[in-house]
Structure formats: C-alpha cells, structure tokens
Amino acid sequence: MKKVALATLMSAAISTNVIAQDYDPIYAPSPEARNAAKATLVGLDQGHGHTVAAGLFGTIVTKQDEQWQQAESPTSVLLTSVDIVNEDLIFISGHEGVLLKSNDGGQTFTRILDGFELLNLELPWIDAQVQELEAAIDNAETPAEASEYEYLLEELGFLMQGLEIQQEVGPTKPLLDVEFINESVGVVAAAYGTLLRTEDGGESWEVISDRIENPLGYHLNQLIVDPDGHLFLVGEYGLMFRSDDQGKTWSTLASPYHGSYFGGLVDSQGRFWAFGLRGNVFVSEDKGETFRAVDTPTRYNLNSGHVLEDGSVLLVGHSGVIVHIDEESLDAELYSHESNVPLAGVRETENGNLVFVSRAGIQNFTLPAAEEE
C-alpha cells in the first residue's frame, strides 16, 4: 500500500493536474461589504500605528481615525491571523494556503502564497522525507531501529494521503498563524503539522515540518515570539515547541497538558503562557521548561490573549468569555461579553479599553476597573 501511495504521489507531483474552479475563493477578490467590520473576524494585530483585523471572505478591516474601514483584499478565503511587522510590512495568513503581504501599511495586499503553490512545496518535501526514511530503514543497524523508521514512514502515509486528496479536490490546508521575527525571517504554522519558514520576507518558503516532533501531523495553532528572540509554537493535543535560532531548529517542550492549546503569549516579565481547551492556562518562568497551572473560573475554550499596559494578562474565548489575570497573584477575574459570541482575538486600544475580533466581527469592551477610573 505504501508503495502504491508513493507511486501515485510521484506521478501526481510531475503533473499537477488540479485546476482552479469557475469561482475559486483563493483568487476571487474579497467582496466589498457595508458590514465588513461585522464579518466573522479571526485575526487581529495592533502596532506600529496600525490596527488590522481579518476574517471570513478575505475581509480585511483597518482602523482609521476610530473608524473601521475595509481594505482591498485579493482573496475570499477565511483569513486566520495578522502580523504587523513594522509600519509598512503586514502579513496575513488564511485558508487554502493563502498568505497575503502588504508593503504599504495595509493599504494594498498581494497574495504571496496559495494552496496550489504550497502543494508544490510539500510534494517534493514529503518525497524527500520518504526517501530519507527508506534510506534510514535500509541503513538501520538494528531491527529495532528499522522498525522505528518504519513506524515513522507509516505515519508519513497519513500526511501523504492528505496531500493526495488535495491533488484531487484542490488545496484544503489552512494556514493558522504567521509570525515574522524581523522583515526577512518569518514562520507560518498550519494545519496537519505543516510548518513553513522564509528568510527573504516571504519570497520563497521552505517546508520545515520535519524539524518538530509531530509525526501524526497535529494542527499547529499559534507562534509566539518573545523579546529575546525565542520562538514558541503551540498546537493540538498539547503540542509545544521552542526555537532559539529563529525557527531553524526546534525543541519539544514538556507540555503540562494533553489537550489542545489555541494560543500563547509572553508577558511583561518574560514569562511564557499557553492556553486552550476548556479554560486551561499554564505559565512558565523558564522559557517553557517547567509550567504551573493558572486557576481560571471558566471551562470555555480560551482562544487568544494579550498583555495589557499594566502588565496584567487578558484571555478571551468562547461564549464571550473574558478572563483578566493579575500579573503578580495570578488571580483571575471572569467577565462576559454581552454578545456571547466566540471571541478570537484581543488588543488594548487604551487603558483598559479592549477591542475584540469575534464570530460577529469587531466588538468593544471596557474592563470594569478602567470604567471606575
């Protein structure tokens, strides 16, 4: 079976026979929408004078003088994450392998990667992986070592199947997060264990999925960079990695939890936080070597977080859940957004005033403490 799969794969790799459909969301420009700021928005970033949110139907909105305005967007896929690198450079990741780039502070975006191109990156990569493993099996010194590689080859079969299906139906793989360490070096985390890296500002991409220990290809949900240049990566089933060399190599961290992490952050003290399914939050003071659990008063999924100006940590999640955690005591206060919708991202506009992205678009919230002031 393995051989058959490989054979198909090879033939397909030579002739990429998938073609774009009549209407293909990858290439269809985002519809201009009166209610753009009320679209399902998932990605949010703020910095360098910009606030940018992105989401369903390729919708990108930017905040200009307190008003949300829709930016032109060359795609209609669901956009998942925004990274503002500097005042000119913005990246946005999306479904079906779409990656957008702006060189003019979010006024215009161009598509620098799509799922068809991604497929063409991943097919040779998996081919190389297979060859490497087969060689390793052949060169194995002990039967135990050989069976170890055979196991890995088998696992690779699942990823192969995924690529095969994509060859048939078109690109299905969502890019889940994009994070640039500087103007040139960036990493993209994607579903089914795909990890990409660039050193030339997104001109070319290298598949580095094999540099993390994720043989079953679990989803990679979020990348977090700390001021010292450490890069963290969290994902499904308690996946947690750290890179100390700008994403070139990765070490697996001792995850304190086997459920999924949806996000992480680094607080003002340099501590690394990871959070996810059912209100689980963990904090590490030693760059992810050891963790302790933070007690939160919610069992809803926590999707995204942000460090406020006063150093406290704010996490948001499903059903409008807002968790505000004191930096020192780690005591958590629970609030609920009146919309009750899943919140997917949060930033602080000014002292205690928050902006969210959610299934129902942009939402605002003022922390009660800030209200009193």
């Binding site: 929408a33 679209a39 669901l78 299905t172 949900n221 499904e236 399914l277 999924n301």
Partner: protein, 784 residues
C-alpha cells in the same frame, strides 16, 4: 322621481309582460329558489386559503411550488412562548408548566409530534469539546428532579446548548416551544383545519396554562389564519348592523314601513342568492370577497329604493297597486340594467389581477350584481303588486314633493359661474396636493408583524414579544439554490451559496441569514475543537459531509437538488423587498454557473415580494381598464366627449384623493386595497350617469343649465344622496373589523362612495358650466 306619466300609455315591453303575466308562478319560483339557495348559502364557510391570496402564476410562486414540500419543514410551524411574569425560567414551578405545555402540544391535532422542540424534548441537546472529544446530552438533565442542583445543571446545559435566543429568551424570562405542523394529517389524509386548530390552541394551551404568573403567546402562520377566520366570522355582526342602519334610513327616507321592509327583504335575498350560487359553483368566500355581500346588499337597496320611490309616486298619482308596480318596472328596468351592467363590468376588470382572492371577489361581485337584477328589478315589483305601499309613504311623498331640500338648493348653486369656478379651483388645488401626497403611496404592507391583523391585535403583540426577546425575525425571505441532483452540497456550490449569504447580509434590511453553509462552517469549527480559525467551507466534499452531519432537517432536500437560503429581514416593506430581489438578481447574474441557480422566492416575504410585483404591475393596468370601460360606457350612453369629461373628471379626482388618503394613513396598495379603486370607480360612475341623464332630458327641452341641473336634482338628487349614504354605511361597519385589511377596505370604500357622491353633485354642474354646457350652441342645438 322617474318620469312616469307618459309611459303609462305605451305598450308594455316584453320583459314586463313576461314578469307580470305570471306573477304567482314567478313568486313561487323566487321562493323556491331562495329556499334552495339559502340551504347552500348556509353552508358557506369563510376560507383563508394561503394559495388563493398569492399570485400563483408569478415566477417566484411557481418556483416556490416546485419545492413546496421540501420547504414545508421550514415553513409551517408555530411557536408557543411560555413567559413567567415573576423571576426567571430557572425555577422548578415554571419548568413544570413548560414541561406540561410541551406534553400537551403533542395532543393538539395537526401537530407534527416528532418535530416538536423545547428544552423539555430529548432532541434538544448540549455539546462540548473536551480533551477526550465531544461530550453532550439532553438539556434537561437525566437526573432532573426540580431541586436547586438540577436547576443549576439545567442553566448550565441551556448556556452550552446554544439555544439562548432560539428556544430560550435572551432575558431568560421565557422559553418557547417550536411546533411544526402537518399540512395534511398523515393518518386520516385530511387537510389541517386552521380554524379548529386555532381554537384547540386557545382552549388546550392558552386558557389552560395562562395564569397570573404565566403568559402564553402563540405565533405562526397557522395562528394568523385561524385569527383571520375568527375575525371574518365577526363580519356577520357587521352585516346585521349594516342592515339595521339601512332599514332605519330607508324608513326615514320613505316613511313607508312596508316598502322599506320589501327593499330590505329583496336585498337580503340577493345576498342569499349570491352566496348560494358561489357555493354551488364551487367558489368560496374569503376574507376579501366577504365585502361582496355588503356591496350587493347596498347596491340592492339603492336600486330597490328607486323602485319603491316610483311605486309611491305612481300610487300618489292615483294608479292601482298592479299598475304602479308595472309602471315602476317599466320606467326603471332599462336604467337599472345599464347601471348594474356598468357595476358588473367595473368589477370584471378586477380579473386582470392574477390573484385568486381578487378573482373570486370579481366573480362574486359580478354574480351579486346579476342577482340584483332578478331580485330588485324582478321580485321587488312583483312583491309590491301584492303588498303595495303604505299610506304614510304616500303622504310623506306628497308633502316633500312640494318643497326642495335645502341641500339640493345648495348643490344647485354650482351651476353659477362663480360657484363653478370656485369649486373647480378648490378641486384642482386639492387634486394637485393629492397627486403630490400620492407620490408617497407605497406598494405592499407597511406595518410590522402579521399585516392581515391589526397592530394591537393579540397576535401582533405576541409577535412583537417574540421579535423583542428572541433572536428571530418573522419576515423571512427564502432564496432556493437549485443544483443538479446530488450536488447541492458540492464545494463549488457551497462556496457560492456562502458568498451569496454574505452578499445579502450586507443589503440594508437584511438582518441575518441561515443555510446549510452556516451549519457547515459551524460544523467545521466543531470538528476542530470549536476553533474559529476553521469557520470555513472545506474544499473536500467528504469533509463537508461530515461537517453537516448534525444539520437540522430542511436545509437541503431529499434529492440534494435544492438548498434554501434563508434571509431574515427587518420588515416587509416594499422597498426592502424590492432591494432584496434586486440584490439577489445582481448576485445571480454575476455568479450563477451551470450547476447552481439562485431561484426567487419563498418564505412569507418572498411570496409578498411576488404579490407586490403583481400588484404593482396590475395597478396601472387595472386603472386603465376600469376607466376605459367606464369611459366607453359613458360614450355609448351619451355620445358626447364633453359629457364624458364632466362625469369622469370627478371620478378621477376621487381616485387621486383616495390614493392620497392611503398614503397619508400609511395604507399600502395591496391585495385588499387594489380592488377598492375599481369598485369605487365602477359604482361611483352611477351617480354621474343618473344626474347627467336627467340633466340632458331638461337640456333637450331647452332649459338653461341651472334649470336643467335643478330638474336633475329634483328627480335624482335625493336618490343619489341616499344611494351614496347607503353604500357608505354598508361598508363603513367594516372599519371596526379586527382584520386590518377589511378595515382598510371599509375605510377607503366609505371615503370613495361619499366623495364620489359629493364629486358628482358639485363637480358635474361646475364642470358643465365651465365647458359651457347649455341650451343653445352655435348650431342652435343644446351643448351637452
């Protein structure tokens, strides 16, 4: 009133000989027929068939019919809200009531039991993603026993179920039960009797469970229909009221009890015949055509009164009972036939509107008018032959003959140039203002809630409660995405539907949308631990299939050839509906492929959009027809363009003013109000015909215009006034109908009848003066 002296000597016309030659036979036939038709008329039941109220041949409705069955699970359901007036729903006592109401609804016949949803039905579940996968269960905990713990558990389950805003009010002070209905009983095969169903709901649910602390609210199409039929039944009371008032007026007018009674009797017989005949021809009576008996009655009375008038005059002149009757018939049958023919033809023009209820109304009205010819021109004189008129009537006429009514003197002044110019100027100014105001006239229904019922009706209050407390709109517009068999959820079709919905969500007036794509996106997020980053349609059809495994029924049809795309609208104003239709078409033009078509339209608002389109198109057509017919009729009768203008301009003035009134009162042009204009014009022209024909008699005798008009007034002025008032009263009682559109019809018709009467009495002489109608023209002939 009628000229009778010189026709007593002419040879009786054939019709008269036939009628009076065998009076007893005719009387017997009339009685037998009345008995027979009464039997059938008694079986007439108001029917409010949905299909009859919509333009069944319109493209939208045809599309809807094509998928009617597939859409039924979306459509015909009621929502029963159980509200607590104290505290919240998280209370054992309240939950017990909610459980009992849910159970009881199972026993209301017509309910599709398997589809009932409430937090007390096992099909309403909560689910949650945990580290170990999905967990879930029914919202009511298996261990529920009403204690504090299980109430707490229930609260948590409700929050996790995603039913807040659907089955549970946003403020937690009420919960609702969603009750789908079987249009046809699966066991007996009988159609749902909406009226009975509505009564059952009232008795088994509202009366039984409503209390000081619990309020029951019921919303849904079936309830609207039931309330409509209920309201329509009250119309019987209005009919009695109209009869009483008319009788009083008849008596005041004639002072002849016998004569008044005969007119009333014959007019009621006309109504019985009309109802009996429509039952026999298999046509029904609907809340719209219910107006017809009132009109038939009023028109019958107005013609009957002329017969009685002539009878009394003839008796006063010393003729025998039989001769008086014969002469009354002889002098009136031609004029009566002409006037009734014009009414009937006026009604027939309504047939150009392709909506069954309006056609039924046209047929019923035409039958009614035809029947009046028999009852009030046939039966009435025969009856009078035997019964005669009372002495008091004769005396009254003798007395009033000699004196002119002050009002008639007043109207007589409008032949004077200053009065004429003044009247025409005032009318012209009013017409200009009217035309300007009529610009605001809207097509369709303008009120929120069920437009058939009054804004403050219990139904609409219930409906407003639902809209306020739940995330639901009751104005639903459905677009049907049609695909080849089995391809309704293909990725390519799904992404287009998804884009379509987003396109529509950005159209002003569209609140939100739902369809299988929404479920698929939620399902995708669900499969991926609720992660919003997956809230998207997947390219892989297998994944799409998995994502919709939990989809509620009705979002795709059995053959997978159609997926309803449901748009919830802010309101059903014509502007909103037009905008929605335009935007659907714009999207379809740009994105439709060989594999997907976006078909308009279903849902109450979709059907209303079709109705509006038909009404809008029919409005001008109907006006042209009705005026065309009336103008032709006048031309044939009078052979003078000047005369036609004198008669038609006042009618047009009334039409403009009633449109202005509609705009001012916020009444839209709709199924109920469109026929009113035709009825108003068709009946209104009678006044002009009566007055002008008498004027011409005098003009031919070379009398001056003022004299001629005074002559016409003395001959027909009172009759015209009386007819206007009888007609107005006949329909005015409708203003109190609990059915909004009946009230609108009543109001507009009352306005039109009175306005037409005044227009005829004031503007005809004034216009005649301005057009220099008079005894001598340049050629020495009278100008008419």
């Amino acid at each position: 009133m009628q000229e009778t002296t010189n026709i007593a000597d002419v040879k009786p016309p054939m019709l008269e000989r036939v009628l009076f030659g065998a009076c007893k036979t005719w009387l017997f036939i009339f009685i037998a027929l009345t008995g027979f038709l009464l039997y059938h008329a008694a079986q007439v039941r108001p029917d409010a068939s949905f299909q009859k109220m919509i333009p069944t041949n319109h493209e939208f409705v045809q599309n809807y019919f094509k998928y009617e069955e597939d859409l039924s699970s979306l459509g015909n359901a009621i929502r029963v809200v159980v509200e607590t007036k104290e505290g919240t729903i998280f209370d054992a006592e309240y939950q017990e009531v909610l459980r009992r109401v849910t159970d009881e609804l199972n026993y209301v016949s017509g309910v599709n039991r398997s589809g009932i949803r409430s937090i007390w039905t096992p099909n309403v579940r909560w689910s949650e993603v945990t580290e170990d996968g999905f967990v879930g269960g029914p919202v009511i905990p298996d261990t529920y026993n009403g204690d504090e713990d299980s109430i707490q558990q229930l609260r948590q389950n409700i929050l996790r179920s995603g039913e807040v805003g659907n089955l549970v009010a946003n403020n937690f002070q009420s919960a609702l039960i969603y009750v789908p209905l079987n249009e046809v009983d699966p066991e007996t095969g009988e159609r749902l009797d909406y009226h009975q169903f509505g009564q059952n709901l009232e008795e088994q649910i509202r009366d039984k469970f409503g209390s000081e602390t619990i309020s029951i609210k019921i919303v849904g199409f079936a309830k609207v229909v039931a309330d409509l039929i209920d309201g329509a039944m009250q119309v019987g009371i209005f009919f009695l009221l109209a009869m009483l008032i008319t009788f009083g007026m008849l008596y005041l007018y004639s002072r002849c009890l016998r004569g008044s009674f005969m007119v009333l009797l014959c007019s009621v017989i006309a109504v019985i015949w009309q109802l009996g005949i429509i039952k026999l021809i298999g046509s029904g009576i609907n809340p719209y055509s219910m107006l017809v008996p009132f009109l038939v009655f009023a028109i019958g009375v107005s013609h009957g009164v002329q017969i009685i008038n002539a009878l009394v005059t003839n008796r006063t002149d010393g003729h025998s009972k039989e001769m008086s009757s014969r002469l009354a018939f002889r002098s009136l049958y031609a004029a009566g036939l002409t006037a009734l023919a014009s009414d009937a033809i006026g009604f027939t023009t309504l047939m150009v509107i392709d909506i069954a209820v309006i056609k039924e109304l046209a047929i019923a009205a035409s039958i009614g008018v035809a029947v009046i010819v028999l009852t009030n021109l046939g039966l009435l004189p025969v009856l009078a032959k035997y019964l005669g008129v009372s002495e008091s009537g004769i005396k009254h006429l003798q007395k009033t003959r000699r004196e002119s009514h002050p009002l008639l003197t007043f109207f007589g002044k409008f032949t004077q140039p200053s009065y004429a110019k003044g009247a025409v100027l005032v009318a012209a100014i009013m017409a200009v203002v009217g035309v300007w105001q009529a610009q605001n006239l809207k097509i369709g229904d303008l009120d929120t809630g069920a437009p058939e019922l009054r804004a403050d009706s219990r139904y609409n209050l219930d409906n407003a409660f639902l809209v306020d407390n739940y995330s639901a709109s009751t104005d639903i517009f459905v677009v049907m995405a049609e695909t080849p068999p089995g391809e309704c959820i293909d990725w390519q079709n799904m992404v287009l539907m998804d884009r379509f919905q987003w396109h529509m969500e950005n159209v002003p007036g569209v609140q939100t949308t739902r369809s299988i794509t929404y479920v698929s996106k939620l399902g995708m997020a669900g499969i991926n631990e609720g992660n919003l980053k997956w809230y998207s349609i997947n390219r892989d059809d297998f994944v799409i299939n998995a994502s919709i495994s939990q989809a509620p029924s009705g979002l795709i049809n059995q053959e997978c050839t159609m997926a309803p795309l449901i748009l919830y609208l802010n309101d059903h104003k014509a502007d909103t509906l037009n905008r929605v239709v335009d935007e659907v078409n714009a999207f379809a033009d740009e994105y439709e492929t060989d594999n997907i078509e976006f078909l308009l339209a279903s849902g109450n608002s979709g059907i209303e959009a079709a109705t509006n389109k038909v009404i809008e198109a029919a409005q001008m057509k109907m006006l042209i027809w009705v005026y065309g017919v009336v103008i032709a009729l006048c031309l044939i009768t009078f052979r003078s363009i000047r005369t036609v203008i004198c008669i038609i301009l006042p009618l047009m003035f009334t039409t403009v003013m009633s449109q202005a009134l509609m705009a001012w009162l916020g009444i839209g042009v709709k199924v109920a109000t469109l026929p009113v204009i035709a009825l108003g014009v068709g009946i209104g022209v009678d006044y002009g015909i009566y007055i002008y024909s008498k004027m011409r008699e005098a003009l031919k005798e070379n009398m001056s215009l003022t004299e001629s008009y005074a002559y016409a007034l003395s001959k027909t002025g009172k009759a015209v006034g009386f007819t206007g008032l009888t007609l107005a009263i006949g329909v005015a009682t409708w203003i109190w109908s609990p059915i909004k559109f009946q009230a609108d019809m009543g109001l507009l018709l009352t306005f039109m009848f009175i306005w037409n009467m005044l227009g005829a009495l004031i503007l005809i002489p004034a216009l005649a003066r301005l057009f220099k109608v008079g005894p001598k023209g340049e050629d020495g002939k009278p100008v008419m």
